[in-house]
Symmetry: C2
Subunit: 211 residues, 2 copies
Amino acid sequence: MTKSKEEVVQEFRVQSIQEAAIRVISRKGMAAATMQEIAEEAGVAKGTIYLYFRDREELVEKTFETAIGQLHARLDAAMDGSGSFEERLRALVTAQFSFFSENREFFRLYHSLRMTQGSASQQRRQKRNCQPQFRARIDRLAGLLKQAMDAGEVRPLDPARLALFLIEGSIAIVLERLTDDAPPAESEDVELIVSTMLNGIVIPKSKRSTH
Amino acid sequence: MTKSKEEVVQEFRVQSIQEAAIRVISRKGMAAATMQEIAEEAGVAKGTIYLYFRDREELVEKTFETAIGQLHARLDAAMDGSGSFEERLRALVTAQFSFFSENREFFRLYHSLRMTQGSASQQRRQKRNCQPQFRARIDRLAGLLKQAMDAGEVRPLDPARLALFLIEGSIAIVLERLTDDAPPAESEDVELIVSTMLNGIVIPKSKRSTH
DNA sequence: TGGTTGACTGACCGCTCGTTCAGCGCGGTG
DNA sequence: CACCGCGCTGAACGAGCGGTCAGTCAACCA
């Protein structure tokens, strides 16, 4: 089952084109990323891309799928640990933070894709292909929350809404960190998110110091 | 100081072109919205737009400024009320919810603008013109939070980060409501956000029922 | 009512983009 | 050495964009 030379070359090309696509889309955004620039970034001619991908749409789609697979693997690993609810939640947020700071460029691709709009057919296509990927992330976290609710650790709230709120809120902070010149330690932002979600921001009246 | 007939006509044109721009950008997204389609939507010829706006960029910019002014006015009104911190926070989230459900299309424009990427010069331009608008919203909420912290009602956390987390999390839920076929009552989602932010999701151990 | 104006139009232009394909060079074969 | 086969190239193409401007005509004056 060893790979032939041709297969190795093929895989190398596909991979380096995808990596170039991530970098260019991250830099310029989905709409402004041209095939020409992706080709230059990958060190091949424009035509070469079309030997490995049917068209621009397929390139973007396949690239996204490859990259998000890695993210999901990391997040699953973080969540499937056997700690307490709090530990698992903290692990999830931490994993998300570290993945995106290791892969800043992918993060922007992730966002570009989510927010891309276009013709009606493009929108339908995107809904079919990409939405399920995001939905899957929400659903997994929602599952974790539901579990904690059933165990009586967490108040009974709509788990899907909570998951959405938490993930999007975190993403906003990750995004902010990316453009921050001197962001605080990663753990500090993780703690802010986790403690806010778990215990809220209010100081109970019984614990307030007299002003 | 009464308006001349020409001024009235001029204002009407400007306004209807801007409204058309909002609708088209909302539908197709920033990149895919063409001058041709905006013109058709407004019921004028493409060239007419250029009598009222220097170029596409100015149209988008002016349109955005006009629209976001309304949003800020609403949110300020909600926050400047003289209630308790909790009441003002609830009012803010509620105002955001109702504004965006009354102006679904503007909401999508808002998002399109935030996520637009492009050439280096476009990015710089956008940073100058649009980022401050978003920043202003964050800053206002951050001010409210800071006030509550100084009063000892809220734990001392980075107010800017908290504001970002809250606003983006809420926006995600608003967005979800827009595509939901049968979303829960607005007040229900507002309550979820406010109570989560204030008190967290955890049930204190002392109050847990035995399983 | 004939003349003048200027708001409006839409065919047109230059340009950029995704996509194609005739041809190039190179490693293997007889 | 001549001859392919094939991965690759990049000039060329057509579609579609933002922006232009010569032409149109209803409204208004003299």
